[in-house]
C-alpha cells in the first residue's frame, strides 16, 4: 500500500521535473520564436490531452518498446529497456501531463511583456541571462500553476502507465493501479486507498497553491 503511494508521489514529482526541464524551453519557443511549423508543434503538444491515455501508452510502446523506433536502439546500444520499469512510469506520466505545463507557461509568456527582455539585452544580458533573471521571475506564477496541474495529472495517471509500464508492485504499481487492482479483490480496501490518495493529493495541492500562487 504505502509502497504504491510512495511510488506515486516519487514518479509524479520526477515526471513534473522532466516536464519543467523540457516544457519551459518548449513553451518559450512557442511563445517567442517564430518558426515554420509552429502551429503543428503546438497541436502536437496538446495531442496527449485528447488522446485516450491507453492509446498514449500504446504509442509509447511503439516508440520505446524493445522493437520500437528509439527503444530498439536504446536496447542495442545501452542494453537498457524503458517499458515495465519505474523510469517507464515517469515517461508515461510526463507524456500525459506535459500539455498542462506547456499551455500554462506559454500563456504566461504571452502575457508577459517581451520588451522587458529587450531592456535586459540593452543592459548587456545574454538571452539566457535575460530569461533566467527577468522572464522567469515574471512568469513564475504561471510556471508554478502549470507545475501543480502537471503534478496532479501525473499523480492520477492510469491508462498510459498500465499500458506502457505494467503493474508490478513496488516497481511500476502506482496508487491508481493499486486502487484498480484492489477493486477487483476487496472493495473496502479500494475505497480506503482512494480516500488516502484523495487526502494526500488535496493536502499537497492546497499547500502548494497557498505558497506559490498566493491564492486567497
Amino acid at each position: 500500500m504505502l509502497a504504491a503511494l510512495r511510488l506515486s508521489l516519487l514518479t509524479a514529482t520526477l515526471a513534473t521535473a522532466a516536464c519543467l526541464l523540457l516544457g519551459v524551453p518548449l513553451a518559450w519557443m512557442l511563445a517567442r520564436v517564430p518558426f515554420r511549423g509552429r502551429r503543428l508543434v503546438r497541436a502536437l503538444v496538446t495531442v496527449p490531452l485528447v488522446l485516450p491515455p491507453v492509446v498514449g501508452g500504446v504509442a509509447l510502446l511503439l516508440v520505446f518498446g524493445r522493437r520500437g523506433l528509439v527503444g530498439g536502439w536504446l536496447d542495442a546500444t545501452f542494453g537498457f529497456s524503458l517499458p515495465f520499469t519505474t523510469a517507464g512510469v515517469v515517461v508515461a506520466e510526463a507524456f500525459v501531463a506535459m500539455p498542462f505545463l506547456v499551455i500554462s507557461v506559454e500563456g504566461a509568456l504571452r502575457g508577459a511583456d517581451a520588451r522587458y527582455e529587450e531592456a535586459a539585452a540593452t543592459l548587456g544580458a545574454s538571452r539566457w541571462t535575460a530569461f533566467r533573471r527577468v522572464t522567469l521571475p515574471l512568469i513564475g506564477p504561471g510556471v508554478a500553476a502549470g507545475a501543480v496541474l502537471c503534478w496532479a495529472r501525473a499523480l492520477g495517471e492510469f491508462g498510459a502507465t498500465i499500458t506502457f509500464a505494467g503493474n508490478f508492485p513496488g516497481r511500476t504499481q502506482t496508487m491508481p493501479l493499486a486502487v484498480y487492482l484492489a477493486l477487483e479483490q476487496d472493495l473496502d480496501a479500494a475505497i480506503v486507498l482512494s480516500l488516502l490518495l484523495l487526502v494526500v493529493s488535496v493536502a499537497i495541492l492546497a499547500g502548494l497553491r497557498d505558497r506559490w500562487l498566493g491564492a486567497t
Binding site: E118, A119, A120, A121, L123, G124, L138
Partner: protein, 345 residues
C-alpha cells in the same frame, strides 16, 4: 569618446525609414517628428532591437550594426521605462553592471551611490510600482548610465509624466545629459523638450529627415508644414524675384530682404493684422480673406483665414469682439513686409 555616424534603413510593410544621423561625442541630438514618423524605429535600430535592411551604424569609427544588442554597450531609456517589476530600484540599477561581470557586492554599492546621486537613496529598496513617475524616470536613466554606455538613447523620456513633474525632470535630465561623455539621441514629439534638452534637432517625417539644425534655425526657418505648425509660424513656398515672392497663383507677398528663385516665406500669426475695411496707408501686403475658424490660443485668439492663401492670425479678444470675428465673416488682412522673412528652399 566616440561619435555616432549612422545611416538607418529599415523597411516594414508600407513604411520605409531612411535616415542619416550623426552625433558628436557629448552632443545631444533630438529626433523630432509626428507620430508614425519612424522615430522609435530609428532608436530601436540604433539599439539593435530592429535589424537594418541597409545602411550602417558606426560608433567611434567601429561598425556596430552587425553586433547583438547585448554587446553594443548602448544605454536605452525606454518610453515607459521598463523597470523590471520584480526587482528593487537598486537591483534594477545593478542589473547592467552584473551582466557585464561586476561582482554582486560592488555592483550594488555602485548602484546605491548612483541612486543617491539622483536623490533616491531612500527609495533604493522600493519596487518600481512603489515609485512615482519622476522617480521611476530617474531610476531608468541611472540604470541606462550605470554600464557606462558609449551611446545613450532616450525614447520620449518625459512623455509619461504630468506637467509639474515634467518641468522638474526636464531640468534634472539636462544636467545628466551634460554629464554623459558619449553622444545622446533623444526621441520626442514635444518641440519644447527637444529644444530644451538637445543641442541639435533632426526632424523626421514619413521616415525621412526633412530638416536638421539648432533650435534657433528650426524655429525661425521651418522647411515643412509640420515644423512650421510646431514652432507656430505661417509658412509658404514660392518663387522670389527681389522682395516679391509669388506664393500662390497671382498672389505675391512683399518680404524683407531680396531673394531669387525658390524660397520659403515665414511669418508669425501675430504679425497679421485684421481690419473690417481695406486699410489705408503703409502695409504693402493686404488681401481680402474670410474667417474660417476662431480658436483660443493662450491669451489671444487665433483666427484661421481662407482667401488667396490660408493664414493663421493672432488677435486680442477685444479686437475680435470689435471686428465681430466669427466663421464666414469677410475681413481684410495685412502683413508688414518687415515681419515676413524669406530664405532659399
Amino acid at each position: 569618446m566616440s561619435a555616432l555616424d549612422a545611416h538607418l534603413v529599415v523597411r516594414r510593410d508600407g513604411f520605409t525609414l531612411d535616415a542619416e544621423l550623426r552625433a558628436a561625442a557629448g552632443e545631444v541630438v533630438a529626433l523630432l517628428g509626428p507620430n508614425g514618423a519612424g522615430k522609435t524605429t530609428a532608436l530601436r535600430a540604433l539599439a539593435g532591437l530592429v535589424a537594418l535592411d541597409d545602411g550602417h551604424i558606426e560608433l567611434g569609427g567601429e561598425r556596430i550594426d552587425g553586433i547583438a544588442p547585448e554587446h553594443r554597450h548602448i544605454g536605452v531609456v525606454f518610453q515607459d521605462y521598463l523597470l523590471f517589476p520584480h526587482l528593487s530600484a537598486l537591483e534594477n540599477v545593478a542589473f547592467g553592471p552584473r551582466c557585464r561581470g561586476v561582482p554582486r557586492s560592488r555592483a550594488r554599492a555602485q548602484a546605491a551611490e548612483l541612486l543617491a546621486r539622483v536623490g533616491l537613496a531612500g527609495q533604493a529598496g522600493r519596487k518600481p510600482r512603489q515609485l512615482s513617475g519622476g522617480q521611476a524616470q530617474r531610476v531608468a536613466l541611472v540604470r541606462a548610465l550605470a554600464t557606462g554606455p558609449r551611446l545613450l538613447l532616450l525614447d520620449e523620456p518625459l512623455a509619461a509624466l504630468d506637467a509639474r513633474t515634467r518641468l522638474d525632470t526636464r531640468a534634472h535630465l539636462r544636467g545628466h545629459l551634460a554629464g554623459h561623455a558619449g553622444p545622446t539621441v533623444l526621441v520626442t514629439h514635444d518641440p519644447l523638450d527637444a529644444m530644451m534638452l538637445a543641442d541639435r534637432l533632426v526632424i523626421l517625417e514619413h521616415g525621412r529627415v526633412v530638416q536638421t539644425g539648432d533650435a534657433a534655425t528650426i524655429t525661425s526657418r521651418p522647411r515643412t508644414d509640420y515644423v512650421a505648425r510646431l514652432v507656430g509660424l505661417n509658412l509658404y513656398r514660392g518663387r522670389a524675384d527681389g522682395d516679391l515672392v509669388r506664393v500662390a497663383g497671382d498672389f505675391t507677398l512683399t518680404t524683407a530682404g531680396p531673394q531669387h528663385g525658390d524660397v520659403f516665406v515665414a511669418f508669425p500669426p501675430a504679425a497679421v493684422a485684421l481690419y473690417a475695411a481695406r486699410p489705408e496707408g503703409s502695409p504693402r501686403n493686404t488681401w481680402p480673406a474670410t474667417v474660417a475658424a476662431v480658436l483660443r490660443h493662450g491669451d489671444a485668439l487665433r483666427i484661421e483665414l481662407t482667401g488667396p492663401i490660408t493664414v493663421a492670425a493672432d488677435v486680442t479678444p477685444a479686437a475680435a469682439v470689435q471686428l465681430g470675428l466669427e466663421p464666414g465673416r469677410p475681413v481684410w488682412a495685412s502683413l508688414k513686409a518687415t515681419e515676413a522673412t524669406s530664405y532659399p528652399a
